[in-house]
């Protein structure tokens, strides 16, 4: 097996009784990569992630983390991973610091020295009892324990839920630092914008199947730009509609708007034949691209 891969899954299937949660997920993530795992709630993101951690066993298919199946890899493999669950629930009777120290002990002490510095960056009070913490503060506890032992593979299930925008930035900074240190990051979300800033590649899962895997740049190209020109004189619509990579052309009087996917060269040259008074080009929100993908199919309701 290639040692370049942090994780790989091939035709991964998971059934809960009669419910099919995963219907053949295939994906590969290389070491050092930041991979965004995007899909609506119930698409099978958490199921896939929990298989990687050997919390669930696949019904069929192959899955490997650092070249080992999660089951065979066992505790030794999990010691190289950090995990932030999608639905984080913490036992309530201890102080945040005590609980984090406990989790470090389960790792043979790994990460204990980083609890305080990371907590400080997030403004988490380690002396508070967990049950008295707000949802956002509990999420901070989850983030600290996922990062503290400098895992080689960081698995984050909807990591920024519950964090305010400022803390989301602190969080993304920490993830970038982990990446700079060579960590691989596998990060799920139901919205693309959460991973857009940081992920190199994105995989899209829907109803237990991967529907697309692409680089963020490629997705941006596909999403395209909304371009608008203002001309001194009226122009003919046909001039623009026949251009490659140009669609959704709307001409109203002296104004032309269109969707550009790909190189702007042809469009600009065509526009330049006229007297251009003004122009703008806006990257289309990637979210719109995904909304199109999501809408098309019903999702089983009782899938994690």
């Amino acid at each position: 097996m290639s040692s370049e891969l942090a994780l790989s899954a091939e035709e991964l299937v998971k059934n809960y009784g009669k419910t099919r949660a995963l219907m053949g997920v295939t994906l590969e993530v290389e070491r050092g990569e930041v991979f965004g795992f995007i899909g609506p709630n119930g698409a099978g993101k958490s199921t896939t992630i929990r298989i990687l951690l050997d919390l669930l066993r696949p019904t069929s298919g192959r899955v490997e983390v650092f070249g080992q199946t999660p089951r065979k890899g066992g505790p030794a493999l999990r010691s190289r991973m950090g995990y932030l669950p999608g639905e984080l629930v913490l036992p309530g009777k201890r102080r945040a610091g005590e609980y984090l120290a406990h989790l470090a002990k389960l790792r043979g002490g790994a990460g204990a020295d980083r609890i305080e510095p990371i907590a400080k960056r997030f403004g988490l009070d380690l002396n508070k009892h967990i049950k008295s913490l707000s949802k956002g503060n509990k999420q901070k506890v989850g983030v600290v324990q996922a990062l503290m032992h400098r895992p080689e593979l960081l698995i984050l299930d909807e990591p920024t839920s519950g964090l305010d925008p400022l803390l989301q930035q602190v969080f993304l900074d920490m993830v970038r630092e982990a990446k700079a240190e060579g960590a691989t990051i596998f990060m799920s979300s139901h919205v693309l914008s959460e991973v857009e800033e940081i992920a190199g590649r994105v995989g899209i899962i829907r109803s237990g199947r991967m529907v697309d895997i692409a680089e963020i740049g490629e997705l941006r190209r596909r999403a395209g730009q909304m371009v608008e020109f203002r001309f001194a004189t009226p122009v003919a619509k046909e001039e623009f509609t026949r251009l490659d990579g140009v669609s959704e052309v709307v001409v109203t009087d002296h104004r032309v708007t269109c969707l550009l996917q790909g190189e702007p060269n042809a469009l600009l040259k065509t526009a330049a034949r006229h007297h251009v008074l003004g122009w703008s080009a806006q990257n289309r929100d990637l979210e719109e691209l995904f909304l199109d993908l999501y809408r098309t199919e019903e999702v089983p309701s009782d899938v994690r």
Partner: protein, 267 residues
């Protein structure tokens, strides 16, 4: 940060320390309270007259036919009813909680994702239940010893040890069954419901069985019977019963380990 030999166990004990302390104090107090009434009640002829006037089936079911002696009184009250019932309540709820309850709530997730072998996690969590129950049994025994010595009651302390070991194994047997059902199914409801039903049947088998025509077998297969049969506080060690209670534990724990190691968690 030191490396602990059993981090899962110490984590659970820290999480529980307040509630176990409260239970321990409560059991000590209730036991002491009951025994302190003996000189005023059980030791008098008035008490014996009252007992004689009650239907014999009822007094036998409650063990009150032996209440005229100190050993009989303590055996029927502290060790015969309150101790085992309270220890059962604690043991069954804790046994059901430490795997299934926390798994269902989701608070076990981070520990399961930690580099800890599943069997080890289950083993250490079971050990936590065992240690809790040991502490509670010691509290009952301590209260009994203090009052027996303090009031100069006629109770053999070796027999007190024998019945305390029985009480511990009795509660641990049911706690282990609840723990195993929880570990196998991940359902706290199944663990609580299943074990409580078994305990209720066991109690009926012990209390009612012997008084029914040909019902003695019910007491023989009841863990209550294994624990209290032969009246250990009066007559000393009932090894057969202790072995049967121990067998329940010895069967339950490996079942918990194996089933938990081989199933999906937290679904």
């Amino acid at each position: 940060m030191s490396v602990e030999a059993m981090p899962v166990l110490t984590g659970v004990l820290k999480e529980q320390r307040r509630s176990v302390m409260a239970w321990s104090v409560a059991l000590f107090a209730v036991s002491a309270f009951y025994i302190s009434f003996y000189p005023a009640m059980g030791g008098t002829t008035a008490m014996q007259d009252l007992i004689d006037s009650m239907p014999s089936g009822m007094t036998k079911a409650l063990g009150y036919d032996r209440i005229g002696t100190a050993a009989g009184y303590i055996g029927a009250t502290v060790y015969g009813l309150l101790g085992p019932i309270l220890m059962l309540v604690f043991g069954i709820t804790t046994g059901a909680q430490l795997i299934a309850g926390e798994e269902e709530a989701g608070s076990l997730e981070l520990e399961l994702a930690a580099p800890v072998d599943r069997m080890r996690l289950v083993g250490e969590r079971w050990l936590a239940v065992a240690i809790d129950l040991f502490v509670l049994a010691v509290s009952v025994a301590l209260a009994s010893v203090v009052l027996v010595v303090g009031l100069d009651l006629d109770v053999n302390l070796v027999n007190l040890l024998a019945i305390t070991v029985g009480l511990l194994l009795f509660a641990l047997a049911f706690a282990s069954v609840a723990f195993a059902i929880g570990a196998a199914t991940g359902s706290r409801t199944a663990a609580l419901g299943g074990t409580t039903a078994l305990a209720a049947m066991a109690y009926l088998g012990h209390a009612v069985g012997p008084q029914m025509e040909g019902g003695a077998w019910m007491d023989k297969i009841s863990p209550f019977g294994w624990y209290l049969g032969g009246d250990p506080l009066v007559n000393g060690w009932n090894m057969g019963g202790l072995v049967l209670l121990g067998a329940v534990v010895v069967i339950s724990v490996p079942l918990a380990l194996l089933t938990f190691a081989n199933r999906d968690l937290g679904t």
